[in-house]
Subunit: 618 residues, 2 copies
């Protein structure tokens, strides 16, 4: 670790060196640790496998969003062999549905080696699709009008899973075809038992092709990442398998993926995985990452000897075990605050403001975040249900990245219960995908939190006093003139000109010179800015009758920083900068009191803004 003083490095000038991720050296370290390992022996049951360079070694890790970390010979090709089994199993689940496939192939570990010829006699089916008996049965189930179509569909699956073109090692394929007597025996036994139907040669041809697909450590890591990402390739965005079938594939990998080493693998590494006699191992951490390792020497179980050790080291050093303690799932609540902490961006009349000073605590805003599922939504619900005294509840979903059907159902039910119990509810900033999942009536949605707050404030004000909302104001009601005597007020009135604007009409244009202050007597205006690179305009505030706007006109003549537009018909009293200058010259006391009024209002708004910042920082 760098010593203390280096913490202040901002004064150094060398900022050109690219920064390497700390993950990369960590992988290199694991690679170096096992580089000299020579344990195990290369598979020899066909000559093509026995001829591979046993020293080859590569480690690849791909995150669920598609970032690749790699070290060693991660692009060196080798045949995928048994790692094809769970993937083809996924394809036939997709072709036939889970129930039909379960009729044909079990999901129980056999506790035996991968090439054992033994069946689940009670159900007349192979034990599972990860051993040869079940894998051959699975290949026999790939749909297609003829052999060529079935091969094409199989190859297309591997293309979609890996995100790259797929080729077959023809010499391995031909060698397997010529020498795979044991698998031929299995297929004929299954045909005899009625476990498979159709032409044994066609099924075996397909099976040997799938086993002879060329892959690499990097490619396996991408396939694993596609499974980790719910079946969608993280870079191409293509869906290779349906989410529910991915779950089934990972389940069978968990209990049966590593042959008679499955239990110890689960204990030590704890990731759904599959190995192949070509020397590859593929492991999946759902939602997080995929791993591909290549090292051809095998142990007694037929798993890559070095590959197992690398996976255990990775699992240990990165805490990848699926059952490792990652702490409690946290509530989906990002933050929550009351309507008294943060107001809507509507600047209301003084009467309404005073009412809301009292009523603001009746509004609660609860912001949710992340991927919503049962455990984090249940916790959020509990917190919301504890807000029993609140009359208005805003659920803000702007930071929600995904929402499953369970979480959507719980939220829908919550809204229903709150409404039945007499609460007002608004859902703010809900992404379109979440809206679809929620299936809640459109009346509940608001574009953003401030609109939802505004709706809640409106409802509370209306319930309290119809008169407080939207009423026309008189000059004497404005806070900034409250220090003026009646006589001074009349003098001011003489300097003002009454103007009316239609709904939609622009009163102030951004960039123009600030040359008038406006007393808004009737109607509502919007304060908007156009932002560079963003379409449309952003509404900064809405202003109700009883407020002034454009007050910087009295403080010099800086350019206007926003447009102000009437959103209803609006009536104003305009005080031009020239009229103010003349007034101040003739009646300095009136000018000073007006500026003091402006400054006071700014001071109050600044204090409220600072309180909002504190509430948002928490």
């Amino acid at each position: 670790m760098a010593a203390g003083p280096s913490a202040n490095a901002a004064t150094r000038s060398d900022r050109t060196a690219p920064l390497e991720s700390p993950i990369q050296p960590l992988l290199r370290d694991i690679y170096a640790k096992f580089l000299d390992s020579r344990d195990g022996a290369v598979a020899t049951y066909i000559p093509e496998l026995s001829g591979v360079d046993p020293e080859q070694f590569g480690i690849a890790l791909v995150t669920a969003d598609g970032h690749l970390y790699e070290v060693g010979q991660t692009r060196a090709p080798f045949t995928i062999q048994s790692i094809s089994k769970p993937l083809v199993y996924g394809l036939v689940l997709q072709d036939h549905g889970r129930d039909a496939v379960l009729e044909r192939i079990g999901v129980e570990p056999s506790g035996e080696a991968f090439n054992e010829i033994r069946f689940d006699d009670d159900r007349n089916r192979p034990f599972n699709a990860m051993v040869n008996t079940g894998a051959i049965a699975a290949s026999s189930l790939i749909r297609g009008a003829e052999a060529a179509e079935r091969v094409t569909r199989m190859l297309d699956l591997f293309r979609a899973l890996s995100g790259e073109a797929v080729t077959i090692d023809e010499s391995v394929y031909r060698s397997e075809l010529a020498t795979g007597h044991r698998n031929r025996a299995i297929a004929y036994l299954e045909l005899n038992n009625g476990m498979i139907v159709g032409d044994v040669d066609t099924h075996l041809d397909l099976y040997y092709r799938q086993c002879s697909i060329l892959t690499s450590a990097a490619s396996l890591a991408f396939i694993a990442a596609t499974l980790a990402n719910g079946g969608v390739h993280p870079r191409t965005g293509e869906r290779a398998l349906a989410t529910k079938h991915v779950r089934d594939v990972l389940s069978v990998m968990t209990t049966c993926g590593m042959y008679d080493f499955a239990g110890e693998w689960e204990l030590r590494i704890g990731l759904p995985a599959k190995s192949g006699v070509g020397g590859g191992i593929m492991a999946v951490l759902p939602g997080q990452l995929g791993i591909g390792v290549f090292s051809p020497r095998l142990d007694a179980h037929g798993n890559s000897h070095r590959g197992i050790r690398v996976c255990e080291e990775l699992s240990d050093r990165l805490h990848l075990h699926l059952l490792a303690d990652r702490g409690r799932a946290r509530s989906a609540i990002r933050r929550s605050y009351r309507g008294s902490d943060i107001r809507s961006k509507r600047r209301r009349s003084q009467a309404a403001r005073l009412l809301l000073d009292r009523l603001g605590t009746e509004i609660a805003v609860v912001e949710l975040q992340g991927n919503l599922f049962f455990a984090n939504t249940e916790q959020a619900l509990r917190s919301v249900l504890e807000l029993a005294e609140v009359r208005c509840l805003v659920l803000a979903l702007g930071q929600v990245t995904a929402i499953d059907a369970v979480a959507a159902g719980l939220l829908r039910d919550l809204v229903d219960r709150l409404v039945t119990a007499g609460r007002m509810v608004r859902l703010a900033a809900v992404p379109a995908s979440a809206r679809k999942a929620l299936a809640i009536g459109p009346a509940f949605y608001e574009a953003d939190v401030t609109s939802a707050l505004e709706a809640c404030e409106d409802a509370l004000l209306q319930a309290e006093s119809e008169a407080a909302v939207g009423a026309a104001s008189h000059l004497e009601d404005f806070e900034i003139v409250e220090e003026l005597s009646p006589a001074e007020l009349e003098i001011l009135r003489g300097r003002l000109s009454r103007r009316a604007f239609r709904a939609g009409e622009t009163i102030i244009t951004e960039g123009s010179e600030a040359d008038s202050l406006y007393f808004l007597l009737e109607g509502t205006v919007d304060v908007c800015v156009a932002r560079v690179g963003e379409p449309g305009v952003t509404r900064l505030a809405a202003i109700d009758a009883g407020n002034v706007f454009g007050e910087v006109a009295l403080l010099g003549k800086p350019p206007r920083t926003a447009d102000v537009t009437a959103i209803t018909a609006a009536t104003v009293l305009e005080l031009t900068a020239a009229a103010f200058a003349a007034l101040s010259h003739k009646h300095p006391g009136i000018g000073a009191k007006l500026v003091i009024g402006v400054a006071r209002s700014l001071s109050v708004r600044l204090r409220r803004a600072n309180a909002a910042i504190q509430a948002l920082e928490g």
Copy 2:
């Protein structure tokens, strides 16, 4: 779903009805669905089990933070039987360590029934601790000077796991002791094989006691929640098992917990689980929740028939399958912004402010949140490494709830790399537990984000220009007097009194009448408030020389809202409200210009505060 208009329910007055959680009716629904199920048969191998009421039925779910949902006979007692096996396995892992236990008991599924007498002959050990052979071997390994101590230790484990007093069903215990001939045979075979050592009767007595412990659906759900919570009971806070042993226990439950139904359980339900012939099933979703179900009728595998169906329904309806798609792990970044969006709470001199208008983008604040582990920290790191042009980086950890050793290592490495590359780094608001895990030198820590921002701003200003920071100011340098002519400035100067404060001296007291504005010529002052219910004071802002404070004194005499204290020796020019009134009376123009200056400064600060609100809302 409620109809649209009901969204506006805030006007209704009935808010007394307590709100029920949507989880409760969901459990009731599942309970009702299976209430009439009569499939399966009660265990009969001892008379005490065959005598239980087969209709009993209870479902309990406990969240990882200890909230219990329950329906049916969740408090009805029954014997725990085989559900004790993984728990005692955890105890012996704790007693001997994993390697020693693996020498004695394997972790591979046997693919056979629970009472099968078959061993892993290659390793001369039982296949796993979830079948009787391995469970008896596990019980034989419980440490203790004598039989009584071993029983006490075993019972204490169950007390800690469940959080309640443990009792044994004496009649079941005596019946098992009298009729458990098969288990006696197993124990003697193991003794003969050298798989266990010591007195067979003592081991069997212990084993029968552990199987005869009385539990309930609720109690099982609490035990499961303790395992889900990394071994700490969520209500009592007591650690029952070490986290690493919990991982091993859950691993073995995954591959071996449901006997020869383990594969299909993993496929359909996908939770580490254990069943017992007493009719109980316990299932764990790590980090999230525990489930306990009680229904005495068993299926052919010896698992509760109704219990399996309830668990499948729960897993389906709540999406609990451990391998179900819960979306990608999200980056641990809560939000990030630049020092130009949000400034520290130090109000700097005009020269410094102008410099920071340009330099603020050189500071990046990255806020992290939640439980930090590999996948979400790796993503956060990638985002940070992309901020290559930034000179100062603040990592804010105030919302980090836990940090594992991997995430801590990655962050430590990141800081090291950033510093080596010439960046200034600050860690803000780091919880004490995270500080320990991070093991980064104290020079990197700041109490909060604003202090870290301040340190970064200081460093940038110092690098740019020594003169800009902390220099004394002259009256003519203050923004609020910039409209005054030299002659007017001299008139103003005549109304000011110079005052000096020692470090620590209070200049303004909260609640007092605002009767002076201060021009801060030299030194720095803090603006602080005491908050109800919070110890000490909260610093709202620090103010450097070149700024005024107490300006509301010119806008009326509202009470002061905060204390202002000199934190260095400070020199001010004081303008009392009385002096200002006299000045305004004699020279109205000067008074007006001063108020305009104050209003302008408030207007600029309000605009900056609104920009900060926008940055924080994102």
